[in-house]
Symmetry: C2
Subunit: 232 residues, 2 copies
């Protein structure tokens, strides 16, 4: 299967910059995309720029008319492949809202990070002996969770070739080999050349623990265009 | 100051493969090296290979006659620059044995990792909201702790050019700018080209949290010759 050619239906959970950036890319590639939010009415009613200075969602949606908006449940029901693009602390709750009937049996790309700023400094809400990826997999055992893309900025996620000609690495972690293969094809269609399978979903710990150094580097180099390349 | 030319005295705490590998490199570069151990008599009395299959210490020492052996306190007293090359769980105790009078005011390269296998899987004994580097700095506030080299195998530490022509990265974290500059010079004398200053000692968290992915990659590629390159 070459996903460059197969057109699929994606359900993206989360209307932030990450969800929007992925939606644009997937539409460009010819896929059908429904973005889910808790309340479409409230999301459409917002008139302020988002917290990263992007336009209000309704303005963005008019600029991207092929993207559909729905509830979390509607987006999940529409999607053949789901992407969890919420902030990590809400991922579990969002999946509950989406509803097991709409997510069970499907591939879920978990690209969120359990970032917790409540301590006054950046920390992970779960780490080292557990991970957000594992929490999602335990909570929804019939979903095929694949942790991926959480180690880079949204711009790098969809345009890896714009950084060092794409000569850097991205990771997948998950229990289902077929789901990882499908996600790997999706990543390749984005331009990723070096997709590294870390192993089962417990290896999401390793991927999530990269966050602190990524945040450090992103801050000190003052650019989102930063990533790591595995050299071997 | 160019440490390629300045000959210095190093005190290495730990007689394992990491301490030995660093000792050989430093002697090659013309420095004086004393390796410290809890009991030199017991260390010299060992007749079995070490746990990585290396020769017993006394055999190794005869092969490397320029290296001196002493207690932790003697090695620390001799060294102008100290290297903590013990297993991470014993680092604090080893520094106590070395004695504050012998370590205060000195640069301490902390290259150890708080690896904890007691849970039946690899985890860090301290992580996310604290780090081993910070624990050492708090316990010995007058020591200039610089976290470094903990993200690579001992062979890569001293021969970075043997992996991808040295085109990969190493990190330093510490509160003292002069100490980080001195350590950076030492790293450059080993062949490191891309030495990245992450910031104060709290950034040792980020460096130590790389361990899980390093262990994963080292295992799956079945080689110690693996590292990450920061691409920006």
């Amino acid at each position: 299967m070459n996903l460059m050619e197969v057109k699929m239906k994606f359900g993206i959970l989360g209307t932030g910059i990450v969800g929007r950036t992925l939606a644009v890319k997937l539409v460009e590639l010819g896929h059908a995309v429904t973005i889910g939010t808790r309340s479409p009415e409230k999301t459409l009613a917002k008139t302020e720029p988002d917290r990263f200075g992007g336009p209000p969602f309704n303005v963005w949606l008019k600029q991207n008319p092929k993207v559909k908006l729905g509830t979390f449940a509607e987006a999940a029901a529409q999607g053949e492949v789901l992407i969890c693009a919420t902030s990590g602390l809400t991922s579990l709750d969002v999946l509950k809202s989406a509803g097991e009937a709409n997510i069970n049996g499907k591939v879920l790309m978990d690209i969120s990070n359990p970032l917790d700023y409540s301590k006054g400094f950046l920390a992970l809400s779960v780490s080292n002996t557990d991970s957000l990826g594992e929490q999602l997999q335990r909570a929804f055992p019939q979903v095929k969770v694949v942790k991926t893309l959480n180690t880079v900025n949204a711009l790098v996620m969809v345009s890896p070739q714009k950084l060092a000609n794409g000569d850097h690495s991205i990771f997948v972690s998950g229990n289902d080999a077929g789901a990882k293969a499908a996600v790997t094809e999706i990543l390749r269609s984005f331009g990723w050349k070096d997709v590294i399978d870390l192993g089962d979903i417990s290896t999401a710990r390793a991927a999530e623990m990269i966050l602190p150094i990524w945040v450090n580097l992103r801050s000190q180099y003052k650019t989102p265009w930063v990533n790591i390349k595995v050299v071997r």
